[in-house]
């Protein structure tokens, strides 16, 4: 057993699960057999959730955050509408989350993933792999160069289509902050028809996953920009935090 005290950075703020998707949603059929029936066991966070893996900037290759070039190692650009995806990772207290790993993956411009299980007949782009990663800077800021992914059909109800989206995975500074989400694009009419987007019952919560077109970051004659901020759980820190319960 350890003699060293675990540094105490405060408990995590409990998740407000009403802003998250319903685990079971009959319109998203796969969720029906993959969602717990019984209630989750709610507990205050412990060191196991308040600590987490860290990744250094040395992990990253030069093109890891450039999906237009990283699959061909810079030899030839991917096809599609060139975009910059950028934003900040923040916690619920509005503080930047610096030095945290952000990983993304997406379909190509035709709506096809480079995955052995994707058999959609839109062709693969020989110069597009579809994954990227970066680490946020000291202000929690990140950016990716990529192409706008295509919408695509998927087997669910009779005729379901995914809106254009980019998957994002974020660590934060503790295992209890771990989050995977999706960025949608402003103005995409398919968002309102998508049963996966609709697993989020709170409209404002879904709207926060829709990235606005951001001309302030768009580069003339080169690319458009979309801004996507990601908010992770915060930590509760009060002056009373370290007192014995009831005192």
């Amino acid at each position: 057993m350890s003699e060293h005290a675990i540094p105490d950075h405060g408990r995590l703020i409990p998740r407000d699960r009403t802003v998250h998707p319903a685990p079971r949603d009959p319109e998203y059929k796969t969720s029906v057999t993959r969602s717990p029936n019984l209630p989750l066991l709610s507990m205050e966070s412990s060191p196991s959730e308040e600590t987490g893996p860290t990744f250094g900037h040395g992990l990253l290759g030069k093109l890891d955050n450039n999906l237009i070039l990283n699959f061909s190692q810079g030899a030839a650009p991917a096809l599609g509408e060139r975009i910059l995806m950028h934003g900040r990772v923040l916690d619920q207290d509005g503080r930047a989350v610096p030095n945290t790993l952000v990983e993304i993956w997406q379909a190509n411009a035709g709506g096809r993933y480079r995955h052995k299980k994707d058999t959609y007949f839109a062709p693969l782009d020989p110069n597009f792999g579809g994954c990227g990663r970066t680490i946020t800077d000291e202000n929690g800021y990140y950016e990716f160069m990529t192409i706008r992914p295509g919408a695509y059909p998927w087997p669910n109800r009779g005729n379901d289509w995914r809106p254009m989206h980019i998957h994002a995975s974020v660590f934060g500074h503790s295992f209890g902050q771990r989050l995977i989400t999706q960025m949608y694009f402003e103005g995409d009419p398919l968002i309102d028809h998508c049963p996966i987007a609709a697993t989020i019952k709170d409209r404002a919560s879904l709207d926060r996953l829709v990235a606005p077109l951001d001309f302030s970051k768009s580069r003339p004659l080169d690319y458009l920009a979309y801004k996507f901020d990601i908010v992770l759980r915060g930590r509760r820190q009060t002056m009373f935090e370290n007192k014995l319960e009831g005192m």
């Binding site: 057993m1 350890s2 060293h4 675990i6 540094p7 409990p14 998740r15 802003v19 998250h20 998707p21 319903a22 949603d25 059929k29 796969t30 969720s31 057999t33 993959r34 969602s35 717990p36 029936n37 019984l38 989750l40 066991l41 709610s42 507990m43 412990s46 060191p47 196991s48 959730e49 600590t51 987490g52 893996p53 992990l59 290759g61 990283n70 699959f71 923040l90 619920q92 207290d93 509005g94 990983e103 993304i104 993956w105 995955h115 792999g129 994954c131 998957h167 995975s169 295992f175 771990r178 989050l179 995977i180 989400t181 996966i196 987007a197 697993t199 996953l209 901020d229 908010v231 759980r233």
Partner: protein
């Protein structure tokens, strides 16, 4: 009117989808070389203290079918109960592993070090455990659970003590099958449903 609370709202989760491996485990997805070094491939980065163990299991859906497309992440302390980054923690142990079910059999293997116990707030000791985070197509928000061990004293653990229906405690305990080998199956729903955590 009352004052405005300026706390931000957490971004909503969305399913990791069927192609999560592209982004998080490119080699598994058939896209090896996408990154020079992938993260979480091995929590053991060199000679380490403690017992190296293998935990094998499957993640079953409500019909009893083992998920072929599930991805799991684990986080834990080292053999002495120290988390990576903490003073004195084993420098060759990262604490973090990322692994997937086999696409044919639906079975996963986690190779790691057996964690020690640690003392949390107010001097409460936690029995050795590994935290898991489970994502896949059809899982709309990642599922948290823990692996405890059948050959450890779990009697005083504060989390296991909170489980009202005592038989459900067993869903969090890996069963020892051989020296250094354990079985830990996860049932997403139905009979023997694993205890999942909101923590």
């Amino acid at each position: 009117m009352v004052q405005k609370i300026d706390t931000l709202i957490e971004s909503a989760s969305q399913t990791a989808g069927p192609y999560v491996h592209i982004g998080l485990m490119p080699t598994y997805a058939g896209n090896g070389g996408s990154f020079e070094t992938e993260v979480g491939t091995d929590p053991i980065a060199g000679k380490i203290e403690g017992e190296i163990i293998e935990i094998v299991g499957s993640v079953f859906d409500g019909t009893g079918w083992a998920l072929r497309d599930v991805l799991i992440e684990s986080w834990q302390c080292d053999a002495n109960g120290l988390f990576p980054g903490q003073d004195g923690a084993d420098p060759n142990f990262t604490g973090f592993c990322r692994f997937a079910a086999d696409a044919e059999t639906g079975e996963y293997t986690l190779r790691t070090v057996k964690p020690g116990s640690y003392t949390g707030r107010n001097g409460v000791e936690s029995a050795p455990h590994i935290s898991l985070w489970i994502v896949s197509r059809g899982i709309n928000i990642g599922l948290n659970t823990r692996i405890y061990f059948s050959d450890c004293d779990n009697s005083g653990d504060p989390l296991l003590g909170r489980i009202e229906q005592r038989p459900r405690v067993d869903t969090l305990i890996a069963r020892k099958t051989d020296d250094g080998r354990y079985r830990f199956d996860i049932r997403l729903q139905g009979e023997g449903e694993t205890v999942f955590l909101d923590i």
